[in-house]
Symmetry: C2
Subunit: 177 residues, 2 copies
């Protein structure tokens, strides 16, 4: 029996949002919540000589095996030079491999190794524990509420693409010869 917190907090918003006035509470909560959220993996990453940039690359490669470098650049919205630096380290240390594309041999399709998958899972588990703890302290529809709120916060132009990518990721192992 895990130590699950099932207390349903009755926390009211700090303010009634007057029209036109900044929504200070959500602005600040996003800052604090995100900082704690991304802070969890830092200790593990630090021991390996990696940073958050490595985490992001490893995460998305793990979730989208066989993705192109260009796709990764699109998701991360950084330059290929910035990506190249951290990607090279991940490849050199055996967390990621690049395979020549079968159909288009210019492509270097990205895959995690088992070592990389293990690390990605370890980091995701840390973050999942925080999320699960939060959901446990809220009502039964907490997951759906969080999903809808976060999805609605994404740029209109990106939202559909992101949601599609999230739902299809890690479904078919994208069988490759």
């Amino acid at each position: 029996m895990a130590d699950v917190n099932v207390t349903v907090l009755k926390a009211p918003p700090a303010q009634a949002s007057n029209p036109g006035e900044p929504i200070w509470d959500i602005i600040e909560l996003l800052f604090f919540a995100y900082r704690d959220f991304v802070g969890d993996p830092d200790e593990v990453l630090g021991k390996l000589g990696f940073g958050r940039a490595h985490h992001r690359v490893l995460h998305f490669v793990n979730r989208n095996p066989g993705m192109k470098v260009a796709d990764l650049l699109d998701i991360l919205k950084i330059t290929k030079q910035s990506l190249g630096r951290v990607l090279k380290q991940l490849v050199d240390e055996g967390y990621v491999v690049q395979k020549e594309g079968a159909v288009d041999r210019r492509q270097r399709l990205l895959y995690v190794t088992s070592k990389g998958e293990a690390l990605a899972l370890k980091l995701a588990t840390l973050q999942t524990e925080r999320i699960a703890r939060a959901f446990g302290s809220l009502g039964p529809n907490a997951h759906e509420a969080a999903y809808r709120f976060l999805a609605a916060m994404i740029d209109d132009e990106n939202r559909d693409g992101v949601l599609r990518q999230i739902s299809r990721a890690s479904r078919p192992p994208k069988a490759r010869s």
Copy 2:
């Protein structure tokens, strides 16, 4: 009549959370939502030669007029050297002023100028528009749901302090001679 989006999206979570498995959708949505959220102010800041570090300092000084430097360091969790760099620029360019503490004259209490307040408000308004748009596309209790989710995501040790700080911020103008 503003162009308010009142469509209530019926977006289901991408996955039923199997126990012990990473909650991939929320992990990724946090990444994308936060990136778009903090991206809004960047253009404005860039024109002024400022970055996100300046934004954070300006934001919290605006919200907590008269705060001590030590308090700001606690909130931001950075070193005084890192803070000093951006704070000095904000002071030099007339966005923030430091006043000697009346009771403890070692303290340099921080206040935004009217120029600083105007910028803080401009940036907060950009982010508020995104949040309001999101809430508009969700149900009537979206604000409370988001508040509770984000609060639950904060470290247990910090949560009460953060919530207290959020609720009392900008209430009393902290009258000062």
